[in-house]
């Protein structure tokens, strides 16, 4: 640190009374996290070596696996969709300091509501009507599930961290029960619902596997930005996140703001749920969430609670996960190792960020 602080000192002192070196905003914003990410990858390299593989080659395979060709790019893009939706929703919640860690449950409920409508009406409605209906059902399913936690918080003062977490299990096992019993596909021995077909499937774009759900997620990026920074509602949500007592003093309805933030993030998770089940899994069954509710938290934090940052964070996590699968199949390295590397990178990026903020306050 001394090296960084002392050398450019003379240059700085003329413009600023501060005797400390403070790099430009962009460097502060991006430089430290990148440095942290590199340290995380280096530590990961040590682990790969210990597992008996060449780290450089392994990382190359990972990169190629995520971005190496049209097929890889498609896989990564498909993964970006749900991560982006989760990250965007949680960006709203976390900006308001509502700690929604129930994305998983809200995702399940969105999937359930959307797929339920789809199964019910897929033979009678055209896609152009059915798909918006399913998306709406997904949004409402997720929002209502988050609404339970909002109600418990406002009515009884229960901490949303605990309630949203617990509601995850209720949602997951409700879905599994329904897939095994009332909604079970009579033509199958597997514990899964009947299949969504035809009008109930997400339409795809340009003859590829990329579906309109990904497009929708991308369109919501500027929408969230506008909401948070260009509307009075977003101003208030951020104000409540900054200080509830000050917001109350300034005449804002804090309870309403907290509920809205929770409901909105639930809506985004529900949307991700219905899109994934309609586009990818086509049935309600075990394992339809790739842990998106929790990875979404990391996406939001790594994206520094900014929609643009969240896009990059979503791409990063998608690439890491797709790349890890390739690394697994090519080198036989365990998937768990990729998850460890993922964890290391996130830890170091966030730590470097926090450290940079402390030093260059």
């Amino acid at each position: 640190m001394d090296e960084i602080t002392s050398s450019p000192n003379e240059l700085i002192t003329t413009t600023s009374p501060s005797h400390r070196f403070r790099p430009p905003r962009l460097v502060r914003l991006i430089g430290a996290p990148i440095l942290g990410g590199i340290v995380g990858l280096l530590l990961g390299a040590v682990l790969i070596m210990l597992a008996g593989a060449d780290p450089l080659a392994a990382y190359q395979t990972m990169l190629a696996g995520a971005f190496g060709g049209p097929r890889q790019l498609t896989e990564t893009t498909l993964k970006v969709g749900p991560l982006l939706l989760m990250g965007l929703g949680l960006t709203i919640a976390f900006r308001c300091k509502v700690w929604n860690i129930g994305g998983e449950g809200q995702y399940f409920m969105g999937a359930l509501a959307g797929a339920g409508i789809g199964l019910l009406l897929q033979d009678s409605l055209p896609a152009v009507v059915l798909i918006p209906l399913m998306l709406l059902a997904g949004v409402l399913g997720g929002a209502l599930w988050a609404g339970i936690a909002a109600f418990l918080k406002l009515r009884f003062g229960l901490n949303e961290i605990i309630t949203t977490l617990m509601l995850n299990y209720i949602a997951e096992f409700t879905l599994l029960y329904l897939a095994r019993e009332p909604l079970k596909d009579p033509d199958s021995f597997l514990p899964q619902s009947a299949q969504l077909v035809g009008a109930a499937r997400m339409p795809t774009l340009f003859d590829s596997r990329i579906h309109i759900g990904v497009l929708l997620a991308l369109l919501l990026v500027p929408a969230v930005y506008v909401l948070l920074w260009q509307t009075p509602l977003g101003f208030r949500l951020r104000a409540i996140g900054s200080s509830q007592s000050v917001s109350r003093y300034a005449g804002m309805n804090v309870a309403l703001g907290l509920s809205l933030a929770l409901l909105l993030s639930g809506a985004f998770a529900g949307l991700a749920g219905v899109i994934e089940v309609s586009a990818l899994h086509t049935r309600l069954k075990d394992g339809i969430s790739g842990n998106y509710g929790f990875t979404g938290i990391l996406v939001a934090l790594l994206g520094r609670l900014h929609p643009v940052g969240v896009v990059f964070a979503a791409i990063f996590f998608a690439a890491l996960s797709i790349g890890a699968q390739t690394m697994h199949s090519v080198y036989g390295l365990p998937i768990a190792l990729a998850q460890v590397i993922q964890g290391l990178v996130v830890l170091f990026v966030l730590a470097a960020d926090a450290l940079a903020r402390r030093i260059w306050r």
């Binding site: 400390r20 260009q230 009075p232 104000a239 804002m252």
Partner: protein, 511 residues
Amino acid sequence: MSTHSLTQPIVHMQGVVKRFPGGVLACDQVDLELYPGEILALLGENGAGKTTLMNLLYGLYQRDAGHIYLRGQPVNFRSANDAIAHGLGMVHQHFMLVPTFTVAENMVLGQPSPRGPLLENRRTVAQRIRQLSEQYGLKVDPEAEVWQLSVGQQQRVEILKALYRGAEILILDEPTAVLTPQEVDELLIILRGLADDGRSIIFISHKLQEVTSLCDRVAVLRDGRLVGTVQTAETDRHQLSRMMVGREVLLRMTKQPSAPGKVQLAVRDLHVQDNRGLPVLRGVSFEVRAGEIVGLAGVEGNGQRELEDALGGLRNVEQGQIILAGQDVTNRSPRDIFTAGLGHVPSDRYETALLADFSVADNLVLETIDQPPYTRSGLLNRTAIADNAKQLVKAFDIRPAAIDAEVGNLSGGNAQKVVLARALSHQPKLLLVAQPTRGVDIGAIEYVHQELIRYRDEGMAILLISTELDEILNLSDRILVLYEGEIMGESTADTADVETLGLMMAGTRVD
């Protein structure tokens, strides 16, 4: 006293420098000498570096340069325990006592016991406390639990604690801030007695009167530098204030007699509870008229905060009525009360009034963000928000004049100007200002006071809640005193005297 040149100073600080992260130079080449048996005042505005300098001496901070000599020997305290072992004792602004422990238990806390793992014998401790308190007139019951004691008594416990641990050098940080005038007088007598007994005292203050009546010498700090050290006998309050601020300060505001108009605030039989659900306001009634400043005096913690919250709609009213500009606003939302015409400058700026990580411009439109011109067709109008900020920053001389600066980076005085500017920009019927100059430098204090009087003259009703008696006396047309949630009495600007107010502040009803 020229004799000092013959005696050796007991404390000698030489060229002491302390720089905080971020480049703030809190102490810049400060020299300070303390002689045995003297009371030295350390005078300066808020943020002048008084407390930092003493924390350096007491081992709480480490200096970046300079030397400290104790009885002629160079010392380098690594911690407060180090300093205590060398005979220093410090009474902080915020008391360092465990409320649920007795006085005696607080004395031995953190002290090695002669009985090994067991605590020292209770009776021995109590005996020593009684002996000390008798010797110096510091009356305290050793068996009383600290939470039962008044603030003044707790302060005596702090002083006793220092003496109990063998302090020869006492540092007191703004000891009179929390006391009634009578308690202040008692404290000054006690300190004089300690000095006569040969102990040396450093008395941190920004109150000129106490400094001139108590201390032998005065060291004045400004912006981290020692401006000078003078004998009290050879100086006066005007010279000291000039040294402190760097220019002459109006010690007394000049103002026209008030011309009260119609009643803008009527509070009737107000009952309010504190956070623990105990009654804290018990039947408070008063009125504030247009064109007058009503000052509500009282020692901290007698219901001021709760009254302020109740008036702002931030605390539930159990019983009674609040009428603002003819409208009953009892238990209405802060928003309704704002609309009815309240401008609220709260006592706790950062807890209640300002979003530290939001810009100056955003903070200036906190209440009205959803109204035109700041919101048009559902979207924020950044130009209008910026224009409003530019205008207010200029009108209220908020520095730095950067409307995008985060409010958390502003000095106390400028942050307060932001709150005041915002409240006044809505042209309130009643301005409620609580502790408006707490943590604000003296230049800004003067500015805030002048503004308040200007708005009074223009016909605004102003309720001033303050624990600074000088401020109340300077500004108020009528003065009310709050004690344990009741109004003890009222006096007018011309008839008020410190003595009577002090009696009321200590709980004597004066009619």
